[in-house]
Structures are given as C-alpha cells and as structure tokens.
Symmetry: C2
Amino acid sequence: MKIIVDGMGGDNAPSEIVKGVVDAVNDFNIEVILVGKEDIIEKELTKCKYPEDKIEILNATDVITNEDDPSLAIRRKRDSSMVVGLKALNEGLGDGFISAGSTGALLAGGLFIVKRIEGIERAALTTIYPTGKGVSLLVDAGANVDCKPEYLKQFAVMGSIYMENVMDRNNPKVGLVNIGAEESKGNQLTKETFNLLKKSDINFIGNIEGREIPSGNADVIVADGFVGNIVLKLTEGMAISIFDLLKSAFYENTKSKIGALLLKPQLKNINKMMDYREYGGAPLLGTKMPIVKAHGSSDALAIRNGIKQLMDFAEKDIIKIIEENMSLKN
Amino acid sequence: MKIIVDGMGGDNAPSEIVKGVVDAVNDFNIEVILVGKEDIIEKELTKCKYPEDKIEILNATDVITNEDDPSLAIRRKRDSSMVVGLKALNEGLGDGFISAGSTGALLAGGLFIVKRIEGIERAALTTIYPTGKGVSLLVDAGANVDCKPEYLKQFAVMGSIYMENVMDRNNPKVGLVNIGAEESKGNQLTKETFNLLKKSDINFIGNIEGREIPSGNADVIVADGFVGNIVLKLTEGMAISIFDLLKSAFYENTKSKIGALLLKPQLKNINKMMDYREYGGAPLLGTKMPIVKAHGSSDALAIRNGIKQLMDFAEKDIIKIIEENMSLKN
C-alpha cells in the first residue's frame, strides 16, 4: 500500500503533515509519497525517526492556498503539491491521495485530473459527523449546491457503500434531510428524491428533520451540498457557542471553578467526542481513485488518522463496488 | 387593546393557555377574546382571579390538530377555534391573534382568512433565535420551501422592520444564510438574493455561514423556508444532544455529581437562555393583521410573553410600516 500525501496543504503544513506521515509509516507499515517543496520537506523529515525507504519526496514548487480560485488554481498552478500529487495518483503511483489543503481545489482537482467514476453524475464531499451514537456520514457536505434528485440518490448509494465497507456499519440506515418526517413534506428536490430512494435497494429510513440529525439515527445523512454545508457548519457553530457559554459560566466564581474542576475528566471526554482529529478525514465520493480531505487545521494526529482512513478506503475496494453498483443500474 | 387567543391550540390547552391569558390580563391591563369550547374554557376560568369584564369567550366547538392537513382543516373545520379566531381578527374584533396550535394551519389560515399585505408575495414564519448576543429573528422558519430571490428580499425587509420597531434593535443587521462569506458563493437562489439585498436600503451585512448563525452577528437571519427550518430544528437538536451528553457525564460518579451541584446556578442560567418560553412567540410576517405563533408546548408563561409580543406587534403598527414600504417600492 502506497499513499500520496499533500505535504503543503493546511494550516499546519508542512511540519504537522510530515509528523503525521512519519507516525502513519511507523504505525501502519505503509509507504508514502510526500509531495511538496523538496528542501523544506527534507528538513522536516530529518527531525523524525522512520524507516527511510518508506517515505519518498515528490518535488512540487508551488502551493494552492484557500485564497486561490479552486478551478483556476488546479488549471494554472501545475507545479503545486496538490496538482502534482493528484497527477501521481492518476498515473497509478499510489493507492490514494490525502490533502489538508483547499477543499474546493481538491474537489476540482479530483474531477479534472482523476475524474469521475463512469455513471456518477456528481462527486460529493462528505464529512464524518459525530453523533450521540458514534459517527454518521454526511453527503454532500458542500460540493454541489444546486442538485437534481438523481445526484442525491447517487450520494445515498455511495455513502451507504462507504459506511458499510469502510466503517463496518451493517446495512447502514440512510436518512434524507428534510423539514418533516412525512413523505409529502419538503421542497421539490426532497420530494422527488424521497421517491427515488424509496424505490432503491439501500436501507432508506425516510426523512430526518434537523432536530434528529445529531441523534445518530441515520448512518448516512443525505442532503444537497448547500443544505449539507449549513448542517455541518451550524453543528460546529452550536458546539462552539455552547462550550463558550459553559466556559464563561465555569469561571463565574470560586464555587463554579471547583465544580468545573471536579467535572474535568467528563468534559474532556465530551470534547474528545467532538474532536474532528479523532475521525481522520472526509472521503470524496465519486472519483476514480480514493481521495480524502483532511481538516484544514489538521495536526499530526489528524493526518495519521486520515491516512488510516484512506488506507481502508483503498483496501476495501470502495471505488470498484461503486462502479459495479453503477453498471448494475445502467 | 384587545387580543384574540386560540384557547384550544397547543399541547397544554386549554388550562395553560387560560392561565397565561389571565396573567396577561392582570399584568398588561388588556382585554382578551378567548376562543374555544365555551364550557371547558369557562371551567378553567373559574379557577382564576381576574377582572371579569376583561375576558370574553367566543365559542368554537371544533379543534384543528397537528394531524390535520393544514389547508384542508382551515377550509373544512369552520367552527374550529383557529378559524373562528382568525375570522374574528379579520372582522376587526381584536388587534391581533395568537395560537399555540398547528403552525401550518395558522399560516394557511392567515393567508386564506386574513390575507397578505398588498405587494407581499409570500408570508413568512419567523422564529426568535437565541444567540450569544441576545436574540435574532430567523425568517423564513418553514413556510415557503421553494423560494424566489424576491421573496427572500421581502423577508429581509419585513424582518428588519420587525426587529427595529418591536425588538428595539437600532438599524438591524441583516445576514443571508449561505455557504461562504464571499458574494460569489452559494446556490442560484442565494447568489441572486445577495444582489437584490445589496441594492436594497436595509442594513445588509452579507452572507452568514452556518458557523456564524449562533453568534448573533446578524439581527435578522434570512433563509428560504427549507433551510430556515433545518437551521431552527438543528439548533434545537444540537442544544438537546449536548445537554444530554452533559447530563449523563454529570451522573458518572460521586465527584462529577458534586461538580454538577456546584455548577447548578450557572447551568440553570444557560438553560434559561435557551428556553423558548422566555421569548414569547414568533410573528407571522406578511399578513394584513398581527398574528403570533406560540410554541406548541407553551405553558402559561410562554402564552403571557407571547401576548406581550403580539401587543407590541400591534401597537407599533408594523403592518402599516410594511405596507408603506411596499407601496414605496412599487
């Protein structure tokens, strides 16, 4: 197994990326191609201990930032770590690609360079969504803002395949984000999608309302990229604002400070449950090769876990299963 | 000032509704028409102390439930408390109407019986949205699931007028729910709406992402009814699931139980901040007379506060300001 890693993407690149790669190589016995500015990456690597034949550097002199226009950057910054990495993936030099860089550029690059699986109309961004019952997969988390019912159906099928095979969720339950539980509820898009999902052979459990999303009743949460992005960001925003409220409440007086101290292990646990770093990265679904987006503020732990997830993504042959499923439908 | 109250709507009708009405009459020196089954309402009223000439009962033998189809129920259940109450409002018997009953039916009834303000294309449901900085107004919270840019612009204008005049927010900041801060971000609907809002004379602060919604940076949060409903319900769901997590963490062992005990006053405060009952009801915006939707599980306090809000809605002449604003535009 050989994984290609964007060494220059994300807020903490390259040092945390390199550290995460070294941890992954030591822990999982894999090979890695680290893409980025050779001299900088090399300097970071000299600080670490690892089997030297397991990590090779692929030089790329440029970097795509969050300020770049995603599609333009993919076409013009040809020597960026992301473009060079994705091209290496497309040429079969590795089994998967992971980047903590620009989400939009990774998606655009996945589509332009690696391309979509035949029969797949749109590739989707996903997010591992922490819930009261573990994690769910949210598809689409922001790639496709204007969707047709058929796209959402494909998101549901791909998400279902991923959760079943990579996350070991048996017969994953698929829910459609909607404004009511009944079939008749929703806008034009969700009403038509409901009909398609009802007739499909996935385990469709019906509509899930906003209130139900954090409960974890659905293993796969399906929405168009606009709604999915609002769901993702609002969830983060609510967690942040409630914990901010708690924090200032804890510091209110001596009594509350002691109370908070006594609760420290429990609060730490809850924080960990909501920590994106524990869940690795988010798979892109619908491209011809496995691609994982790591969180922009990924540290070494997040990168290490993201690489593990990418390994499963590749090993479990998700792409092939999606391909087979698509050819069955056509 | 005379307020018409649906005595039979909501989970705790009629007893809590009647109690809330009595509190409002005693506290605010207003008159109330209580609509519902005469004998039942009368029986509840005999339990209470109030100036008897201030509350009159308007008999209505039927009730619209959440199981009824909203539009059908409004047309067919002609002797329901909601229809009788809205007709009384339309005939000028009172200055405003409040109900804790079916949201859909109240909206349908508002449109069919009271009708839209001239020039207003769609009436909107709103919600008082608690944030880190007080409250914001979310428009539309679920009435119009497929929207045109012009509808959203009218929601923004009406919400702005309401926040300025009823909630005393000076030059209220209006934000458009979107998936990115930049003007170029979003789906077709939000991109076109951005352009309309930019050219309008409200205090448009641009797009707000999901993460920013709970921060309270915008006084008026504008979205189509599908997205607005997801925002509202997900916010509730996140609050519930985080507090559930905290609760079970607090009970984990003796040490954590003591910690929770020490924090009790602070936790109570946070709970109160998120308590819908403190904020009264949600105004319907766009109908010819003031209508307020109280929460389905409203108790006496929520009804009392909802009536206060409805009084402000009527007293501040919001409908007239909206009408003038619309005639200026045409």
